[in-house]
């Protein structure tokens, strides 16, 4: 008990110096945590952007032509029964033969001026399309996976800027029909694209409004971590052949996450190196302060020895006070980082494609370990020096 009291009393000896030491530890620990979290966030942003365009790790595409002999009903039925495999997400994109455009009013495309919008891309999707590409919703909901449901469209941010948000009715038309068909915007997604895009359920149109377009081809999208290209090639070929679709091209990987991970890792390592260097500098500074402090306090320590303090009790007092300081600092840093993370997460846009960073437990452990190690390094040598002080000096000084 006396030792603990001595440790806390020792912390009060030089409040200014101890506060500065604590502050430098605090900044050092937070810097380590911030660097690690920043590295993770940078990686996550990069990966999210890449995955928005090319799909999650590993995504393969396989093009298949739709023969004239395959009716829309048949195609819809085929696409409802996409090949399944454990751990795989499979989606599709149906490509119309003619361009499908959008209007804000029910006019046909012939001579219509009122309500015609700028050229937009319309994606007729099915299956797990949204799960494969990172398409976070900022408003509304994603397409109902049901061919009998009312026509729904989901706009990306650029398209929503032209058309409006959920609840807005838009009209789809093409050169194959004089009629425009209504659909309701049910959600807005962040797909990372700058041009306006609409996503709609391919099956609903194939089944209910086959006159809107003639399906030209289908892109099968297969995402499954760890799968090889030749496996995707074989599975999709079997499926396409079984369903009388043209298995023309080869499967190819579209995601580029792995290709860029080396660069990301390099950036993270660079961040870590900077953190390590700054910590070494901080630790040296603290050791220096510790040694200077012992020199300054040698008179006091010698008096304590003369009055009965053992060598061990002096070492305990000096190392103990540093350790207590470092543990307090590490705890405050961890709490501060937790609050900072909550604030950071609250500031992320609603439709951010990145996963909000989790509390950096490993960074907190590293930071706390560094704090304690620095305190130990900064106090062991001074502590041993203090233990070597001769109590007889008390009579000489």
């Amino acid at each position: 008990m006396n030792s603990i009291r001595a440790v806390f009393a020792d912390l009060r000896v030089h409040p200014g110096r101890n506060t500065l030491t604590a502050l430098s530890l605090f900044v050092g620990v937070l810097a380590v945590m911030a660097i690690i979290v920043t590295g993770d966030v940078v990686k996550e942003v990069f990966v999210a952007k890449v995955e928005q365009r090319g799909g999650r790790y590993q995504t393969f595409e396989r093009q298949a032509s739709v023969p004239m002999t395959v009716s829309h009903q048949d195609l819809a039925s085929v696409l409802t029964d996409l090949p399944a495999r454990d751990g795989a997400s499979v989606g599709c994109l149906v490509h119309p033969e003619t361009h499908v455009d959008i209007a804000l009013g029910p006019q046909s495309h012939t001579g219509a001026s009122q309500g015609t919008t700028t050229a937009m891309e319309v994606f007729f999707v099915c299956g797990d399309y949204r799960e494969i590409y990172r398409l976070p919703l900022s408003q509304g909901y994603w397409l109902t996976p049901d061919a009998t449901s009312p026509y729904e469209v989901v706009a990306n941010n650029a398209a929503a800027g032209y058309l409006g948000g959920p609840g807005t009715t838009v009209w789809l038309y093409s050169s194959t029909t004089d009629t425009a068909f209504p659909a309701t915007i049910v959600g807005i997604v962040n797909d990372g694209a700058t041009g306006p895009r609409l996503f709609t359920n391919a099956m609903a149109w194939l089944v209910n409004t086959p006159q809107l377009f003639q399906a030209d081809s289908v892109t099968l999208v297969w995402q499954q971590p760890g799968i090889e290209k030749k496996q995707v090639q074989r599975i999709t070929t079997d499926w396409l052949v079984d369903n009388r679709l043209g298995a023309d091209g080869e499967a190819f990987e579209t995601d580029t996450v792995i290709e860029n991970l080396d660069i990301i890792s390099l950036v993270q390592w660079s961040f870590s190196a900077v953190a390590a260097l700054s910590l070494i500098v901080a630790a040296l500074g603290i050791i220096n302060v510790g040694l200077a402090s012992i020199k300054e306090r040698s008179r006091e320590l010698v008096i304590r020895r003369a009055l009965g303090a053992t060598k061990a009790s002096l070492v305990r007092m000096i190392i103990g006070s540093s350790l207590v300081l470092s543990i307090i600092v590490a705890s405050i840093s961890a709490g501060f980082a937790w609050i900072a993370l909550i604030v950071f997460r609250s500031q992320l846009p609603h439709d951010t494609p990145i996963n909000p960073p989790a509390y950096p437990v490993s960074a907190a452990i590293i930071g706390a370990s560094v704090s304690v190690a620095t305190a130990l390094l900064g106090s062991i040598i001074p502590g041993l020096r203090a233990a070597k002080l001769q109590p007889g000096k008390v009579l000489r000084d």
């Binding site: 008990m1 006396n2 009291r5 001595a6 009393a9 009060r12 000896v13 008179r299 006091e300 008096i303 304590r304 020895r305 003369a306 009055l307 009965g308 303090a309 053992t310 060598k311 061990a312 009790s313 001769q390 109590p391 007889g392 008390v394 009579l395 000489r396 000084d397």
Partner: protein, 244 residues
């Protein structure tokens, strides 16, 4: 009979630059009994303080035999020596040697902490010791807020707080004016019969030395007993020594 301190053939050399060394304590024999006061006088550099540091277990670089209450201290560990210092020896230093950032009470409490006393008991003892030296109303004053005399009285309270068997004072009045020095010596002298302690005073002050019951003179590391001194007697050897 077991003496509080029984020193025989104590010698100590200190290294000098080069290969030479200086004999600062030379074959000293000294026996300290309870209830007696001892003065050690001698010129500066005669070895008084070195001898005191050996007797006070502050210095282990000596040869010879040193028994404390019959126990050979040369065989004791640092921990045991520290406990002995905390419990059985009280020190009063010329420069007070108070810890500046501690209050008077906390300074006096230190030996109790090192002796392993419970805090409550230590605080009670420290308060009582400060009361005994007339500083019961200055418990929370820090050394810088106290006069020289008050600081030395705090040092005396610290020296007696653990009821030691021996109090060693190194020039206790050296930094004080005459009146203040007299009052400090009076406080110390009162403890000798009152608490049956042994008091060893190293001093240049012939008047202070004259108050002790036994007198020793140190010259070139050698200690010699001077017998009972009249005032005029004990001035001479110091004056001679200073002049030599």
């Amino acid at each position: 009979m077991d003496y509080l301190i029984d020193a025989s053939g104590i010698s100590m050399k200190v290294p000098l630059p080069g290969r030479e060394s200086l004999q600062v304590v030379d074959q000293v024999d000294l026996r300290i009994e309870a209830g007696q006061s001892y003065s050690i006088v001698g010129r500066s550099g005669s070895g008084k303080t070195s001898l005191l540091s050996i007797l006070g277990l502050l210095n282990a670089d000596y040869s010879g035999s040193l028994l404390m209450s019959g126990v050979d201290v040369s065989s004791l560990t640092d921990r045991r020596l520290s406990v002995l210092r905390a419990k059985q020896i009280g020190f009063v230093f010329q420069s007070y040697s108070l810890i500046p950032h501690l209050t008077a009470l906390d300074n006096v409490l230190l030996p109790c902490v090192h002796a392993g006393l419970r805090r409550r008991e230590g605080l009670a003892r420290a308060r009582q010791a400060l009361d005994e030296v007339g500083l019961g109303d200055r418990l929370s004053a820090k050394p810088a807020q106290l006069s020289g005399g008050e600081q030395q009285r705090v040092a005396i309270a610290r020296a007696i707080v653990n009821h030691p068997q021996v109090v060693m004072a190194d020039e206790p009045t050296g930094a004080l004016d005459t009146d203040t020095g007299d009052s400090v010596i009076e406080i110390l002298m009162e403890r000798v019969p009152q608490n049956k302690i042994a008091l060893i005073i190293v001093t240049h002050d012939a008047d202070v030395a004259g108050l002790c019951s036994q007198h020793y003179f140190m010259q070139r590391g050698q200690l010699s007993k001077m017998g009972s001194l009249a005032h005029s007697d004990h001035v001479a050897p110091i004056a001679n020594a200073e002049g030599s």
